[in-house]
């Protein structure tokens, strides 16, 4: 029995090494897909996996890149954070992929990051996140806080004359950071401390009675109140249900959410939510040819009832940019592509053009949508032009004098404008 297991062990090690050799010979460009297909995050991430596969298929129809076909390599990190590091290593050393599209949660990105930097891989991260990061090896095509949270707050303050703020979030790093930023921002706008209520709940929190009634009280004190929700995934359904039942309508206390998209709404009876808001860089309901075409393709590739959402657009943009960058660089070599990426422009799905900035973040428009009873969003407001993603928030003491610039001569993810030095270089 033991012998067998030892044999297994040896086989494993040898087997692995053999594969790693054979991989070299492949005459394709390999695209790694690092999205959880099982476990809690599978809900959101499988969609992105399908998106990438769809894009690859399409690219191949166009004749691939540099005359080579693209080959997607899909692995399953199973919503298990340490596995993200392991699978990244697998993709980069065993499969030797040229680029990785992947990750959803911050923790999964943080887990993969050291491996990416060690092995100089290239990853596209398509989800809105808390910022406070800029790596040479990662391109962030999702929204930074200043591309989602801050415009949303501006809209509420200016158009809906909101004066009191409830910052409700799930207790993890994205809401924490976003709310820290918003708090600082609001205070800088002259909002008094007692007009801001901050509340954190655990993942999948299901009993919202007390919190909602607190919000109700907080909102009942005269001034117009709004909830800025960074509540994550599962917890939203009971939250909105409780809102509806306690008679908080969108006219009384509007809720603007940063983590609720078409996909999340599809699991939810939206009638009670009509009029509540969400801030994204993309909505399925946006009407223009590029989007309609994309939706058509998507439904054809998957099925009729599937919806599109913001992270999908982010993936779409990221993939196209990468394709262009590779063609421009004429190679898939990471350093070359990384430089070629900067300044890339590709049309986004909302009728504008997305630009990749020096800090590896995109410039995108910001849209505010109202939830409709058909599970879609109605755009009620959008920024004039695009907003450039900010790697380091200006509203956090720790990072206000940090900038990221990956072009020569700086070539630094966290350059301190005060001490005029690159912290990473130390």
């Amino acid at each position: 029995m033991k012998l067998k297991s030892i044999a297994a062990g040896v086989a494993l090690s040898l087997g692995a090494s053999v594969i790693s050799i054979s991989a070299m010979a492949a005459e394709t460009i390999k695209v790694g897909v690092l999205h959880s297909l099982s476990g809690t995050m599978a809900i959101s991430e499988t969609t992105l996996k399908d998106t990438v596969l769809m894009m690859v298929e399409e690219q191949n129809k166009k004749g691939g890149l540099l005359g080579k076909q693209l080959e997607a390599v899909v692995v399953d990190p199973a919503s298990n954070w340490p596995l993200f590091a392991e699978k990244t290593r697998e993709l980069l050393t065993k499969e030797e992929v040229d680029v990785i599209f992947g990750c959803w949660t911050s923790v999964s990105r943080k887990s993969a990051l050291p491996v990416l930097e060690e092995l100089n891989g290239l990853m596209f991260y398509p989800v809105q996140y808390e910022g406070e990061e800029s790596s040479k090896n990662v391109f962030y095509t999702g929204a930074a806080p200043n591309q989602q949270a801050i415009p949303a707050v501006d809209y509420l303050a200016n158009d809906l004359e909101v004066e009191r703020w409830v910052l409700a979030g799930t207790d993890y790093v994205y809401p924490r950071t976003t709310n820290k930023i918003l708090e600082a921002y609001l205070k800088s706008k002259g909002v008094a401390a007692e007009d801001i209520m901050i509340n954190y709940t655990p993942f999948g929190h299901s009993d919202w009675q007390s919190i909602v009634s607190d919000i109700k009280k907080f909102g009942g004190e005269g001034k117009k109140t709004a909830v800025v929700s960074t509540i994550n995934g599962d917890a939203n359904v009971p939250f909105y249900k409780e809102l509806g039942n306690q008679g908080i309508s969108s006219e009384d206390i509007p809720v603007v959410a940063f983590s609720v998209g078409e996909e999340e709404l599809s699991g939810l009876d939206t009638k009670p939510l009509v009029g509540h808001l969400a801030a994204w860089n993309y909505f399925q309901s946006v009407e223009n040819d590029a989007n309609t075409a994309f939706i058509k393709k998507w439904k054809a590739y998957t099925s009729e009832e599937r919806v599109t959402n913001d992270p999908m657009e982010a993936t779409y943009i990221g993939f196209n940019m990468w394709a262009n960058a590779v063609t421009k660089a004429g190679t898939t070599d990471v350093d070359a592509v990384e430089q070629a990426m900067i300044g890339q422009e590709t049309p986004n799905l909302t009728g504008g053009v997305a630009v990749m900035n020096k800090n590896h973040h995109l410039s995108k428009p910001v849209l505010i949508g109202e939830i409709q009873d058909n599970g879609q969003f109605e755009v009620v407001w959008e920024t004039e032009g695009v907003v450039a993603g900010d790697a380091w928030s200006d509203f956090l003491p720790g990072s206000k004098n940090l900038v990221s610039d990956w072009t020569a001569p700086t070539k630094c993810g966290n350059y301190n404008t005060e001490s005029k030095e690159c912290i990473a270089a130390k």
Binding site: I43, L160, S210, G220, S249, G267, D269
Partner: protein, 558 residues
């Protein structure tokens, strides 16, 4: 216990009102609003120059969302009461226009078909195709306006409820002409409450008056209202009124009000606790049978709940046009589905592991994994949408500061009902007799010719079935997804162990006390710490009293 039934009774009364509730409940969530669509709109007065209204309406179809407000304002002044139905359907998001004729119509969705009626004169246009029409969009701004417009137009409504609501809505948009309306309304007002509400409104308006006597009088009026506007105004006066006398009076009144509010808050908290308790009870009660009576650790219990929830989902798919009644179908069905799965598990696995609890624990855990993955593969990992029937939405408003959400009330009542039924089954039926016999002395029971195998299967089926019913209830509160069960399994075990295994009353007490404890901790410590504290407390408690609150005594327990 008794006060629960009291609540129960008063909810029955409330539901009488809420049963007729339509969309607006979902939107506004308060009962009074619910009655609106029922009232037949008044016939348009002849004076209205309806053509100008017509033009405005067509304008409305063309104009951009941001520019729609002035059009509506004009409409109100022009159309007056005639446009009430139109405003209502616009508020409800049911206002469309026919692409070809640009005619504005109200569309009602009934059993899958769209039927339209003209907003003016409201003639029936019969069935309408989705593609013929386009929606007239509304956003929050417009909704606010519509709400108030409707209120203004409804001051004269025959139904006192409506008038009350109308005045209420006007409270936070008081200006000279609304006050005018109110004054005139006051004269003809017959209903007590409405008059008080109007007085309140007028008082609020007068609070700006120069004479301190008037302001003093105002304070007196505001003093006995719980409306938040009154409270805020009092606070304002107490802060910054020029006259000391008035300030003091206001402060005094405010203090009184706050005391009352604190009291109601306490009741609120208690209710939250009870409702959380009822959820725990529902989740745990099935376990109390399988674990408590049979001594079987069923780690798949959570998945039984999940199955119940998914059954609800499927039922609603089957009967999309009768969501109102879907639950009544779902409850027995969920019981059967989960029950059958339970019996299968018992016959297939647990039977073979008899008297080996730890093994049973592992096996059933395996089963729970399989069931979860099964659901994932069948229904996709995405959460499924389970709609709440109207009669479950909204809340029972006892006064401006205390309102109990209906779904929670129902579930609380439901949990107690299930508990009661279970007690009866175990006490009165032959199954119950056999179950208790087997649980106390298996061999003896066997010797007396009780088919222990059959009893085991039935008991387990019963426990699982009840878990299924719990699933139906939970589907009204939280996500219906593959992880639904996971969220409740540990809590359920805690409840059963804390209450004392094999003791249903213990489970009841445990569930409610944990629920209440949790809810009273939450404001102090926050949600996470609250649940942590409760867990740690139970862990320590079990060290002190390994057999829980109500242990089984005597040799049987040794």
């Amino acid at each position: 216990m008794r006060r629960l039934f009291a609540i129960l009774c008063c909810y029955v009364a409330a539901s009488m009102v809420s049963v007729q509730a339509q969309e607006p409940v979902a939107l506004t969530g308060d009962i009074q609003a619910a009655a609106m669509p029922e009232t037949t709109p008044e016939k348009a007065p002849e004076t209205v120059t309806s053509d100008s209204v017509e033009t405005l309406l067509t304008k409305l179809t063309a104009v951009k969302l941001s520019k729609a407000l002035p059009v509506l304002e004009k409409l109100e002044t022009q159309g007056g009461a005639a446009l009430l139905p139109m405003f209502k359907s616009m508020l409800a998001g049911d206002l469309y226009y026919i692409k070809s004729s640009k005619a504005v119509i109200a569309v009602v969705k009934a059993d899958g078909k769209l039927t339209g009626r003209t907003v003016l004169g409201n003639q029936d246009l019969g069935v309408i195709e989705k593609k013929q029409i386009k929606k007239i969009r509304v956003n929050n701004k417009l909704r606010v306006f519509l709400r108030q417009a409707i209120a203004r137009l409804q001051i004269g409504a025959p139904d006192a409820e409506l008038r009350l609501l109308a005045v209420k809505t006007l409270l936070n948009s008081l200006n000279s002409d609304t006050v005018e309306i109110l004054n005139s309304a006051r004269a003809s007002e017959s209903d007590e409450d409405v008059r008080n509400m109007i007085d309140l409104a007028l008082a609020l308006h007068q609070s700006a008056s120069p004479s301190s006597e008037t302001r003093y009088a105002v304070v007196a009026v505001l003093a006995d209202s719980l409306e938040k506007e009154a409270r805020n105004k009092l606070a304002e006066i107490a802060e910054q009124d020029s006259d000391k006398k008035v300030r003091l009076a206001a402060a005094k009144a405010l203090k009184k009000i706050n005391e009352r509010i604190e009291f109601y808050d306490f009741i609120d908290q208690l209710f939250f606790g009870l409702s959380l308790g009822s959820v725990l009870l529902l989740a745990a009660i099935g376990l109390a049978i399988t674990f408590g009576v049979m001594g079987v650790i069923n780690m798949a219990h959570g998945e039984m709940i999940m199955l119940g929830a998914y059954t609800t989902y499927v039922v609603q798919l089957m009967m999309p046009n009768a969501i109102e009644y879907s639950l009544w179908v779902a409850i027995p069905l969920a019981f059967v589905v989960s029950g059958l799965v339970g019996v299968m598990i018992e016959r297939g696995v647990i039977r073979h592991l008899h008297g080996r609890p730890l093994e049973t624990l592992l096996a059933t855990f395996g089963i729970s994994l399989i069931l979860q993955q099964l659901v994932r593969s069948v229904f996709s990992p995405l959460n499924r949408q389970v709609a709440s029937p109207e009669w479950l939405s909204g809340s029972l408003e006892i006064n401006p500061v205390l309102s109990l959400t209906l779904n929670r009330l129902y579930i609380l009542a439901f949990a107690l009902l299930v508990f009661g039924l279970l007690l009866i089954i175990l006490r009165k039926t032959s199954l119950g007799l056999n179950v208790r016999a087997v649980s106390q002395n298996r061999d003896m029971a066997k010797a007396m010719g009780i088919k222990t195998g059959w009893v085991d299967a039935m008991t387990f089926g019963l426990g699982s079935g009840i878990a299924g019913i719990a699933g139906v209830a939970l589907s009204q509160l939280t996500n219906v997804g593959p992880n639904l069960g996971q969220a409740y399994i540990i809590d359920s075990f805690m409840v059963v162990v804390f209450g004392g295994v094999g003791n249903l009353w213990g489970t009841l007490v445990a569930a409610f006390s944990l629920g209440i404890a949790n809810k009273f901790l939450e404001p102090v410590t926050g949600a996470v710490l609250a649940s942590i504290f409760v867990l740690v407390f139970i862990i320590l408690f079990i060290q002190k009293r390994p057999k829980g609150l109500f242990p089984q005594k005597g040799r049987a327990a040794e």
